[in-house]
Amino acid sequence: MNDDGLDPLIHVPTRLKIVATLAALPDGDTLSFTRLQDMIGLTPGNLIIHLRKLEDAGYISSEKTRNGSAQKTTVTLTRQGRAALGTYTQALRDLLGGLDRDGTADHEHRRT
């Protein structure tokens, strides 16, 4: 966790989009790599890098299946990943609830 209590693994635009997209599916449903790429709008190489980081943390799992000469990769958000997104969302709510009217956070006032 960083200073804000936000999970640094999710608190990156691309990975936040990946996790939020997968979380929109019912628990346990998988999404093909190509559909995810289409929805996020990333190059395959970029998407693979971010998926690998999320998979190393146990937030997603991926599976490769081969059908003849074609290989299909599917990804799914794990329960750990869904819980991490829930924690992240709550941390964001707490932070935004603590924002002043001028948009500065309470904890920034406390630091100064």
């Binding site: 939020a20 929109a24 599916l25 449903d29 093909s32 559909r35 932070l95």
Partner: protein, 215 residues
């Protein structure tokens, strides 16, 4: 979560691919991505349900207008049948196309299993067989248009209960209720019950889905 104070588009662009995010930007991005994903994965989008509601009201309402003055009741005219068939074909094709697009690349509970599809097809066949059997036995309401809704509605209700999908379960129950109410409306009145009942049910579903997508 809603980022009410932040412009979504500029936030997303400003945040970039690997840049840093402020809490407000993150909240806006999360909100925007979640809503977009829910819309794209939705097999019954509100626009389709509203279109279907208008179509069902127009098609079945037109038939009701043509049969309501019949004494004795003779049923839809030859001119009404193509309208009804066209409505069923267009409705089925649009539903399949939109569902296929929404669930492309998705595996799991978002898609119907073969067993569920078999149950639904058998329910439709059973409804037709039951109506034919009861009609041959001289039961009046067997030939009402709403009677065909009861068995498929019950099958849908059971399937959605098994999936713990309460919104769709309510849809199934509404279809069953329309079928039962139609049985008391007389042969011509049943067309009006079907037209208005299904239209209201579809508009209700569209409103519920639109609300869920924004929640």
């Amino acid at each position: 979560m809603r980022g009410d104070t932040v412009n979504h588009t500029s936030d997303t662009t400003a945040a970039g691919n690997g840049g840093t995010l402020g809490p407000e930007q993150a909240a806006a991005l999360l909100d925007q991505t979640t809503q977009q994903a829910r819309r794209k994965f939705q097999p019954s989008p509100p626009w389709l349900l509203v279109t279907r509601a208008v179509m069902v009201l127009a098609a079945l309402g037109a038939i009701w207008l043509s049969v309501r003055g019949q004494h004795p009741y003779r049923g839809p005219t030859a001119a009404d049948i193509p309208v009804l068939v066209a409505f069923i074909v267009v409705n089925f094709a649009a539903t399949v196309a939109v569902r296929r697009h929404a669930t492309a690349g998705v595996s799991g509970r978002s898609r119907f299993s073969r067993g569920e599809i078999t149950v639904l097809v058998l329910a439709i066949v059973a409804a037709v067989v039951a109506m034919a059997g009861l009609g041959a036995a001289g039961v009046d309401f067997a030939t009402y248009p709403t009677s065909v809704l009861v068995i498929p509605g019950l099958a849908w209700t059971v399937l959605m209960a098994a999936r713990a999908n309460w919104r769709e379960l309510a849809t199934g129950l509404a279809i069953v209720v329309i079928g039962i109410v139609g049985a008391f409306a007389g042969p011509a009145g049943a067309w009006a019950v079907a037209a208005v009942g299904l239209c209201v049910m579809l508009l209700g579903s569209a409103a519920a889905i639109a609300w869920q997508q924004r929640a």
